[in-house]
Point group: D2
Chain length 356, copies 4
Amino acid sequence: MSYSTFGKYFRVTTWGESHGKAIGAVIDGCRPGIELSEEYIQKELDRRKPGQSSIVTPRKEEDKVEILSGVFEGKTTGTPISLIIYNRDVDSSKYEKIKSLIRPGHAMFTYMKKYGIYDYRGGGRASARETAMRVAAAAIAKKILAEKSIKVTAYVKEVGGIAAKKIDYAEIQKNPVNCPDKEAAKKIEKAILKARGEGDSLGGIVEVVAENVPAGLGDPVFDKLEATIAQALMSIPAVKGVEIGAGFQSARMKGSQSNDAFAKKGNKIITVTNNAGGILGGISNGMPILARVAVKPTSSILKEQETVDVSGKKQTIRVEGRHDPCVAIRAVPVVEAMMILALADAMMKQEMVSRS
Amino acid sequence: MSYSTFGKYFRVTTWGESHGKAIGAVIDGCRPGIELSEEYIQKELDRRKPGQSSIVTPRKEEDKVEILSGVFEGKTTGTPISLIIYNRDVDSSKYEKIKSLIRPGHAMFTYMKKYGIYDYRGGGRASARETAMRVAAAAIAKKILAEKSIKVTAYVKEVGGIAAKKIDYAEIQKNPVNCPDKEAAKKIEKAILKARGEGDSLGGIVEVVAENVPAGLGDPVFDKLEATIAQALMSIPAVKGVEIGAGFQSARMKGSQSNDAFAKKGNKIITVTNNAGGILGGISNGMPILARVAVKPTSSILKEQETVDVSGKKQTIRVEGRHDPCVAIRAVPVVEAMMILALADAMMKQEMVSRS
Amino acid sequence: MSYSTFGKYFRVTTWGESHGKAIGAVIDGCRPGIELSEEYIQKELDRRKPGQSSIVTPRKEEDKVEILSGVFEGKTTGTPISLIIYNRDVDSSKYEKIKSLIRPGHAMFTYMKKYGIYDYRGGGRASARETAMRVAAAAIAKKILAEKSIKVTAYVKEVGGIAAKKIDYAEIQKNPVNCPDKEAAKKIEKAILKARGEGDSLGGIVEVVAENVPAGLGDPVFDKLEATIAQALMSIPAVKGVEIGAGFQSARMKGSQSNDAFAKKGNKIITVTNNAGGILGGISNGMPILARVAVKPTSSILKEQETVDVSGKKQTIRVEGRHDPCVAIRAVPVVEAMMILALADAMMKQEMVSRS
Amino acid sequence: MSYSTFGKYFRVTTWGESHGKAIGAVIDGCRPGIELSEEYIQKELDRRKPGQSSIVTPRKEEDKVEILSGVFEGKTTGTPISLIIYNRDVDSSKYEKIKSLIRPGHAMFTYMKKYGIYDYRGGGRASARETAMRVAAAAIAKKILAEKSIKVTAYVKEVGGIAAKKIDYAEIQKNPVNCPDKEAAKKIEKAILKARGEGDSLGGIVEVVAENVPAGLGDPVFDKLEATIAQALMSIPAVKGVEIGAGFQSARMKGSQSNDAFAKKGNKIITVTNNAGGILGGISNGMPILARVAVKPTSSILKEQETVDVSGKKQTIRVEGRHDPCVAIRAVPVVEAMMILALADAMMKQEMVSRS
């Protein structure tokens, strides 16, 4: 079964397995008349390409994206945009020998339970490779947000207990761990290399900020903007927690601390603090939207682990393959992508409200 | 605009404002042949009824639920079930005098921005009163889960920094703060009374456990079970964070710690620990599903706060009305309800997969 | 189960059985700021009220509609609008004695097969009474269409083989058969009375015209405007056929006859004929949208019919109750309502396209 | 914008333009464990391949379908199935010279109005080529129906006023016009050749029968099985009318004629006649489902027609390209496909109902 569509208005459907013929996406719901080229999407994709540094997986994905439909003479036509990336650098041999072992922390067990069949080569649909298509789709949505000057930025906030102390956007792409604090970045890199040396992996926290989001996005009840963002971010592989604004910290505050006081700034009513993370009652209030996600450590590790095989017999497992020692780093552009897709969807919906 | 429907298969649509004529829900997607009475739903509702103790709002809602359709001779017919509760104990006078002041931490500002019109009496759709209908709808869904012995339990884990040290389900309903630890409950009650005495409010953490959930629920990509649960829980008023299993703690773990080892127990493959919170790769693995939500302190407080009026002029505000000093306590049955609705929906979907 | 929602953007969910406590609708997706009163909706409903003439069912439904939510100080707030009509003039005694007989041409058999349970009193959800809520919901949608001067008119085109020869809108509401041709109306009335005298019923054709629909509504593939209209109209009880423009007649034409030539009229490009019924390639072309539906004769008739009982034993049946001898007449406001709802939905969707 | 998805449970999304790089479909909602090969889908596709006879368009589409995902070791995995056909035999030159002329009866005008941009080469999304993907998707759905012995058969019932007098399924694929009556087939072929000789085209009627459909499919109100089928069939290019069972003929019947008497046959309750076309109250009754569609004549004809250009200036047009003189014939496998997709969707939904 398995519906694989995000968004009710700006709809993205992804398909494809990491070790199959190709992966792809159909973007249905993009407005006509938007300039779009393969080069532009490629550039966005290249930001997440593995093999860029010593600490991310050495798999050399070419990730060469092609636009197959929905664009005519350089502009979107309003019909579905089909994107495809053929899988070229695929090596499934490592998976052959562990194919009957249940991999701890991995989707393989639950896929078998759900479907009764499992493509044991790589992660199938659960592979981080699927997220390339989210980034590609978000590259298109980004153009719609840009019309309103909305800008979304994600970065590594913490890895292995080492937290960024300052947020300097200019630093993010300068270091291999996507961290906005130069000093923290160095320590994080070291910690990751150490974990890899031990055949182990590290978890982390990614933060994302959306600036210039107009007030009024999101709905009052089940489709609160927080709820949509939570679904979007929690759908990223390895994410186990999402918080908005002060998040879990607000559980330890008093109302008089947690409430953001309103004030006037120029012609605009703003809040002095932003514990709400830009959302009140499920609807954006015009302040920056702020969210954080917890990313668990990569489950595929070299270190020997206890497990059972599919028959239930006790076994040990070491997962070779090519795996990132810290998926939080690779998650950065994906977190950005999912926030973009959530906002684009909410914006399209709001256009129906505000039309009258 | 404002779509107010949760669930794709077991669909719940709520309607109604806290100070309007009535609130209600349409449950569309319930199977035929399930026994259902007003008395049964009423009993579930009474658990969340305010006015039950000294520390929750004294508003005396009668909350008398009526079933208007979809039930014939005591059984569901498979057609939409319409539920209604008339609003009887409504006093809007307190809101009259603050109707032009923007209330800190409250939905009023964003509703005005979104819709250009706002029912200033009470919280409108943003009121906790709307959640009565979620509980009523979940009472029905609960019967479907019970067929598979699935049991969902929520409780207060922490309030004002005071955390439950042990989990004894039998205690939860014995104390006014829905806490599974008798000692912690007493301290929490005291802390809440103190905060109320200061015209202030407290935040808290609610935990929810779903037992006997079969492996195989949830989908691989955007509709991961974690993502659906996150949306469900984050749609509860005042919730600002959601985590599954080890959640944010997993961001500080190594893979070798975070991965739950598989083992055989009887005929079943289980995991020895449950850092995954019962979900791997977005699909339930047969272990208990475990989630926590952060609930911010009630925004409506008596304490004087800085704000502006709708024209942007500086003002101070004290919100009188009848408000809980800690909404986390009232959130307990709602957290339970949303987890139930999320699971019922996932279960109905899985029935299509496993049918063949 | 049974989802009971029409529309993806302007969503109408109806609930309630003809012999239950009440019927109702939730309209979710209406813009804020639209003037709305119970009186206005009541007036629209009164057009379809039975008991208005000698040839429609004498059941005296009060059909007194109440607005329970979504309207504040006379205007829509953008939140769900809940409508309710309590069932007052309900007499289920006639159904008691035939409750085990399978009624020819009636939904009772298939409901039993689908749900295994059946509210034998009246038609349950299949009753024409459910359509009152479609008319009430369309009364709201009508206001949105009116902003663009769109006007929808339905009328009886043919009954018992007697066809209207001319279309004079002014006549429609002057005669009891909703026919735009005075002379045909008289003949039709006579034919219906004759059929009723024989314990029988008649079928008919209803035509509907939507004027001033802008070009551009509808989608290229599965959601062609024709397809949406076909679904909308075919969902009306007793409808067995739908055609657009020349419809079935176009199957007997040549391309050179069927193609509508384009021409310029003032500043607008129009077509000289309208065989397309205002829709080309699934998208409105600016010409009037024209559709016709075939309504089968009322299935509940006094005349004795062969059937079986639920055990399969041969029986005869005479259905007493209170039934219209020609439902096509009662269908007129419902056809209008469903066309209005289909267009309102398409219009809201187009607002997302044309926004940029 | 343009959502291009059919089905709520067995979902098919098509993408691609007739003169673009490729066309494709994503089938999301297919159960795991179903045998599936490219060869099998290809065989189904070849039935609709043009260039098979003298009376259908000579364009030599290779229509070589590839499966890109969702199948592992010859079986569906439960994840999205991506299908692609590259466009190879594309000649857009003929369209260059008429690109500013508005083509009568064609989607080009309305696309321009809707999107403000138009791929003038071929029909774009409106091209019959898009329907290849519907046939490919239905080939998969067919396997699900086959598990319940459901069999769907479509054929040409009438072309240019020449109707089939008998229904012999064995004849359908033996003649180039897909007609179940040998004699009628010959006359129809002659009529089509004559029309083509005159630079003109013919309309026709296609009938479709679904056998062994279990009772209980479809929903009571807006999603009546008739309504879903109507939407499905009306979404086929050039279809302007849909009728179920006796259809428009039932508008001329009396209730005592139109009602199908119930009787017992073996252990089953059946109806003696089938005016209802297998559907009562929107739900299947176990009798064969019977529908007919009216297909208008091909709009692209060689014969000179009056029109205007995009500026509104009077012009004449002759459409060269490669066009079928009677699209009703090409529509046969597409009508079959859409009926299959509608039934597969209804069947999946019913699995949730009947599960308890």
